[in-house]
């Protein structure tokens, strides 16, 4: 087999000095399914953005089909028959499926868009590659699996020979994943080449011919998939054992602090996102929610913290209902919240660090003194927290936007932890931040739990959930599929089966541990 993509000695240094790729060599053969794996931040997305022309390499050479190329934009890449399906779909929601497929290069008749032709070519492509879609459906109303097929059709319409799929299964149900794999095999049979980014090793084994592993911006190696076990791949990916090295004193479980009964939530488009979710949260424990992203974790947190209205059910803290109350009312019951999307919910970027630290408490003593805010006190408290949580900044008067991602998250953590929470709900507390901040935040979470707080942890990082949690609940399609009373005694494989909805515990099995 001859190589169709060769990326040689690729270096990418961003303007802010972050080295995303450091001398990466990456070769893909024609007609293969090539998996590209690595942890979050390993540099796989950057590498693919370079291949697709979205980013330009600082150094290095790209050879497509034996021809050295330099892409200024994704258009150049499309010209060289490269197509990419992004993780967040690039679709126009009010357009039909067919209009999205042909967008940018619509068939024209007499100067106008030829609507019949638009539908026809979409139908033909869909039939040819076995990617079932309904050409005249509005994208807004179709499900994630269909949207993904539209994205793939978009690339095929542009005659792509090399398809880059960026974590395509992250948002899919197992059934949809199987459909996707079938489609990928059809594509390859018809001569296409597929690059498949993922961090799910099971999928690598199942679908790929070869696999390239990246770690910390460097290429670790490329191997034939059949020659490696998942454990070997995991070692290449992580370079150390998957379990995090966190020392956790034994759990001293206390009283029931939060009680959630039959909670459900329906999205604005009418999709039931949470269905009949019930569990309790106890003092002194970390309860981890494990699940593939998009299975209702985000909504669970937002409903419990007052950001979204539920569609039914109950939630109590200290015996008082907190469901469908305002965020302030929820907070006044002692619930602290580390939000998933820290830039939109967690901070006001242009506001000072000090002022970001008081949003949950400015209205009460000692911050409020008479009719005024005591800014001297706010400054001093800010200094204390900056010191205590190791936020790297010259002073607390600077806007939060001047901080790095990890330090921003520390601002949020400092605020929420220092509110002396009765219950802490932490959503993706370490996503996308540096190692130092990550370790610090994990230690703080454990410290808080050991001090008796009830912690609900939601994280896409399974090893984080497994090593921090005392008890784990798996969530699949908005339902609880299993509960594991001792997190230390459950394996990744076992959890995966429940996270992917392959196994379910019965209500009787779960009841005694929820």
């Amino acid at each position: 087999m001859k190589p169709i993509v060769e990326m040689k000695n690729i270096v990418k240094i961003y303007d802010n000095g972050v080295v995303a790729n450091n001398g990466v060599n990456f070769t893909v053969n024609k007609g293969e399914i090539h998996a590209l794996v690595g942890e979050n931040g390993a540099g796989k997305s950057t590498l693919m953005k370079i291949l697709y022309g979205i980013e330009q390499p600082t150094e290095g050479e790209i050879i497509i089909d034996g021809q050295s190329v330099s892409f200024k934009s994704s258009l150049d890449a499309i010209d060289h028959k490269i197509g990419m399906v992004h993780q967040n779909f690039m679709l126009v929601p009010s357009f039909t499926v067919a209009a999205n497929v042909v967008l940018g290069n619509e068939p024209i008749k007499n100067g106008f868009i030829d609507k019949d032709q638009v539908l026809k070519v979409t139908k033909e492509l869909s039939d040819q590659f076995g990617l079932f879609v309904q050409p005249d459906a509005i994208v807004d109303g179709i499900n994630v699996g269909q949207r993904q097929r539209v994205e793939i059709l978009k690339t095929l319409y542009r005659k792509a020979e090399i398809l880059i799929l960026d974590e395509p299964t992250a948002v899919l149900t197992p059934q949809e994943t199987q459909d996707l794999f079938k489609a990928i095999r059809t594509l390859v049979q018809q001569g296409k080449t597929v690059i498949f980014i993922t961090h799910k090793l099971r999928e690598v084994k199942e679908i790929s011919d070869r696999v390239t592993v990246m770690r910390h911006g460097k290429m670790i190696g490329t191997v034939d998939t059949k020659d490696v076990t998942r454990e070997q791949m995991a070692n290449m990916m992580v370079g150390r054992e998957v379990f995090l090295n966190i020392t956790k004193p034994p759990m001293k479980r206390g009283e029931k602090r939060m009680e959630i009964k039959n909670l459900s939530y329906i999205s604005e488009t009418g999709r039931p996102v949470l269905q009949d979710v019930s569990f309790n949260l106890y003092a002194g424990e970390i309860l981890g929610i494990a699940g593939v992203e998009g299975n209702g974790q985000t909504e669970l947190v937002e409903v419990l913290t007052g950001l979204k209205r539920s569609a039914g059910g109950q939630a109590f803290v200290k015996g008082k209902s907190v469901l469908d109350h305002t965020p302030r009312e929820v907070r006044q019951q002692g619930v602290a919240h580390i939000p998933e999307d820290r830039l939109t919910n967690g901070v006001a970027l242009k506001e000072s660090i000090e002022e970001n630290l008081i949003v949950d408490r400015y209205f009460s003593a000692p911050y409020k003194k008479g009719m005024m805010l005591d800014y001297r006190l706010i400054e001093n408290k800010g200094k204390e927290l900056i010191k205590q949580f190791g936020i790297l900044t010259p002073n607390g008067k600077l806007p939060v936007e001047s901080l790095s991602g990890g330090n921003m998250q520390k601002v949020i953590v400092a605020r929420e932890f220092s509110s002396n929470p009765f219950v802490l709900i932490a959503s993706q507390p370490t996503r996308g931040i540096d190692v130092g901040a990550t370790e610090f935040i994990r230690e703080e979470l454990v410290r808080l739990r050991t001090a008796g707080c009830a912690v609900l942890l939601v994280s896409a990082d399974l090893s984080e959930v497994m090593s921090l949690s005392d008890r784990i609940v798996t969530l699949y399609e908005g339902r609880i599929t299993g509960v594991f009373p001792d997190a230390a005694k459950v394996g990744e494989d076992e959890l995966g089966l429940y996270m992917l909805g392959i196994k379910h515990q019965t209500n009787e099995e779960m009841e005694k541990f929820l």
Partner: protein
């Protein structure tokens, strides 16, 4: 006049013709606003661009004696103002609202400034002899009783305005470029990855909205009246923006919203002949706008709530159906 005669006159041909006439200078900016909004750059300078168009059209017609040249000049001036806004918003990141207000300020100050230089008057251009666009008697239609009186004999601008609704529809939904504009408005990132130039698209959308706003302005100064008047647009640019909201960003809906405002304006003109204080009557179109916006906003909220309730009910039914099946 008694109330009865007013009510009777509302159903007269004269009144219906006036609704059409008065709607015209709202339809133009509304169509311009529509194109800008669907591309993701709500043009807040429509009001000012109307004033500029009205002024330039009148002045060029007065100096050249050529009405078509005047219209062309008015359009060019409108496009330039819109591009000024685009330049600052799209390339220099000026806030769109503030940029729009700045262009409005420049337009209202600039037109009066130039008016004074050219005519020595600050109020209006009545002292110079300017031209107006011809009226059009529609062959055949004009002879139909009632209908002929209502729809025939308006200035060509009026027909252009109604025609432009169809053109805008075809442009946005049937042409490649119009479709790209809508894609840019809804998902600029997606458009970019497909090779659609977001900045250029937005500049062009603003330019088109400038054309429409200028036409709306010239409709005022070269058809509705035959001279330029200080602050001639008198809020119609803003009402046009309101019409875009009310019309749910669809050409036909925007047309109906514009006619609604035209109707309110025409009513206020009719009531002016009654013994009601004219100032209060003149508030009708503006109050209509506020009320219409309020009703629209409340309805949308209500619809969303009801949709949510329906989903919830369906969901509960599905659950109980499942439960009974399980038993």
């Amino acid at each position: 006049m008694s109330l009865e005669t007013v009510i009777r006159s509302i159903f007269s041909t004269l009144f219906l013709a006036s609704v059409i006439r008065i709607s015209t200078p709202i339809i133009f900016p509304a169509m311009g606003g529509l194109i800008a909004v669907v591309t993701g750059v709500p043009n807040m300078a429509l009001e000012g661009i109307m004033n500029v168009g009205a002024f330039v059209g009148v002045m060029v017609s007065a100096y050249t004696g050529n009405v078509w040249l005047a219209i062309l000049a008015g359009i060019v001036a409108g496009v330039l103002m819109a591009l000024l806004l685009g330049l600052f918003h799209i390339y220099f990141k000026t806030n769109l609202f503030i940029g729009g207000l700045a262009v409005n300020l420049m337009a209202s100050g600039g037109t009066v400034f130039l008016l004074y230089i050219m005519t020595g008057d600050k109020g209006n251009s009545a002292s110079v002899k300017s031209l107006s666009v011809p009226n059009w008697e529609i062959p055949f239609f004009k002879d139909i009783p009632f209908l002929g009186d209502v729809i025939s004999g308006h200035p060509v601008f009026t027909y252009l305005a109604f025609l432009s609704v169809i053109l805008v529809y075809i442009f946005l939904y049937r042409t490649r470029f119009g479709t790209h504009l809508r894609a840019v408005g809804e998902n600029p990132e997606a458009a970019t990855t497909l090779g659609i130039d977001v900045k250029k698209s937005r500049m062009i959308a603003l330019a088109i909205s400038g054309v429409f706003a200028a036409l709306g302005g010239m409709n005022l100064s070269m058809a509705y009246l035959q001279f330029f008047q200080k602050e001639m647009a008198a809020g119609r640019g803003w009402i046009g923006i309101a019409a875009v909201h009310l019309g749910a960003r669809k050409p036909l809906g925007v047309l109906f919203a514009s006619i609604l405002f035209g109707f309110a304006d025409a009513i206020s003109n009719q009531l002016g002949s009654l013994n009601i204080p004219s100032q209060l009557v003149q508030t009708i179109p503006y109050i209509t706008t506020v009320v219409a916006l309020a009703v629209f906003a409340i309805q949308q909220r209500q619809a969303a709530l009801e949709r949510m309730k329906r989903y919830q009910k369906e969901h509960l039914e599905a659950i109980s159906a499942n439960a009974s099946k399980a038993e």
